[in-house]
């Protein structure tokens, strides 16, 4: 394909954005160099917050796991918006729908496994010392 064809293709696609394409939002907050700097700064802040939450007593101990989960989800959101340029615009519907389906499957696999295996573990009879000793 020649360079000209490429330019015509770009001109044709004003209403349809590829995942990660930034041309659409280059005049918005998440676009261009400012967008990458903003995303980088937010990601660093969230990372520091995660390490602080895990390493210090700032957060009530039993709540640390929730705090870490929330911070991780927030940081993934920052990456999606500022680095992968996923937006809520009409040109991004296909990308967002694929992402939503992926999130659904990931949630089913992870939460479902933890849930089911936790119950199995709880309801399993304990091993006798003899069984434990002869385990492979």
């Amino acid at each position: 394909m020649s360079e000209t064809d490429g330019r015509i293709e770009q001109a044709l696609d004003h209403r349809d954005a590829a995942p990660g394409e930034e041309r659409i939002e280059e005049h918005e907050l998440a676009g261009g160099l400012a967008g990458y700097l903003l995303g980088f700064g937010l990601a660093i802040l969230l990372t520091i917050a995660s390490f602080l939450a895990a390493q210090t007593d700032l957060i009530y101990q039993p709540a640390v796991i929730s705090a870490l989960t929330v911070l991780a989800i927030a940081q993934m959101g920052v990456h999606l918006v500022f680095f992968l340029h996923i937006t809520t615009g009409p040109d991004n519907t296909n990308n967002v729908l694929a992402l939503a389906f992926g999130v659904l499957i990931v949630a089913l696999v992870v939460l479902g496994s933890v849930w089911i295996m936790g119950h199995l573990n709880e309801n399993m009879a304990g091993m006798t010392p003899h069984q434990a000793a002869t385990m492979p």
């Binding site: 394909m1 360079e3 064809d5 490429g6 015509i8 293709e9 770009q10 001109a11 044709l12 696609d13 004003h14 209403r15 349809d16 954005a17 590829a18 995942p19 990660g20 394409e21 930034e22 041309r23 261009g32 160099l33 990458y36 995303g39 980088f40 990601a43 660093i44 990372t47 995660s50 390490f51 939450a53 895990a54 390493q55 640390v64 796991i65 870490l68 989960t69 911070l71 991780a72 940081q75 993934m76 990456h79 999606l80 680095f83 992968l84 296909n94 990308n95 694929a98 992402l99 389906f101 992926g102 499957i105 990931v106 696999v109 992870v110 479902g112 496994s113 933890v114 295996m117 936790g118």
Partner: protein
């Protein structure tokens, strides 16, 4: 438009033949503006691949979450993980993702020197990340805490090793992209590949966020 095709335009209201002569079409890829451009379809296909890759990782995450307490009286995460190294790895990979973005911006400006420079920085940061990870694995294996020690360690090496393999393959791809960009220039197909690579690199960083939170921080704090 040639004389032969001139009469066809009115009979092709949805531009299925993608006539180039009428300028902007309102909504490509939405069923009425004709097919989306190759750039969009290639990137979208790669987006689907990335999401399925993330689903594959979710199986490793589920296995790790289930087995993380199954240490078989061996070392736990608290004994093994060094958070300073993990913090350094996180910083390296995050900065690498950022410089990858700067490389993308440089390709938009069609600046070969800047694009090659930022791609090189991205690769060096990724290589430093991989070095730290290999160092960690080697230390653990030396301490009799290899993947065969317990179910917890099997799941740990599978999950973190799978991410490390992705980073390693990404580095090979990065080198290929630098060479192709250098030799062939800013051609549309090269730009599509560079774009897919940057999507891949950012997605790896998202997976690392989940790893450093669920594996390292939770492993050390609980």
């Amino acid at each position: 438009m040639s004389d032969i095709t001139a009469g066809r335009a009115p009979r092709d209201p949805y531009r299925l033949g993608r006539s180039h002569s009428h300028g902007l079409i309102s909504a490509t890829g939405h069923g009425e503006g004709g097919p989306a451009s190759k750039f969009v379809t290639v990137a979208y296909g790669f987006w689907i691949f990335l999401l399925s890759d993330i689903i594959m990782f979710s199986a490793f995450f589920a296995a790790y979450a289930v087995l993380s307490k199954a240490t078989a009286d061996g070392p736990t995460g608290k004994d093994l993980f060094e958070l300073t190294r993990v913090a350094a790895q996180t910083g390296l990979l995050l900065t690498s993702s950022f410089t990858g973005g700067l490389a993308t911006l440089a390709t938009h400006r069609r600046s070969m020197a800047a694009a090659q420079f930022w791609l090189l920085v991205t690769g060096l940061l990724g290589a430093a990340f991989l070095f730290l990870e290999v160092q960690e694995f080697a230390t653990m294996v030396n301490e009799q805490a290899g993947p065969s020690r317990s179910a917890f360690l099997s799941a740990f090496f599978a999950l973190v090793g799978c991410h490390g393999t992705h980073v390693g393959l990404g580095l090979l791809w990065l080198g290929t992209m630098m060479a192709q960009l250098w030799v062939k220039g800013f051609r549309p197909e090269i730009l599509r590949r560079v774009h897919c690579f940057s999507l891949f690199w950012h997605a790896l960083d998202i997976i690392w966020v989940a790893i450093f939170t669920l594996v390292y921080l939770l492993g050390v704090s609980s």
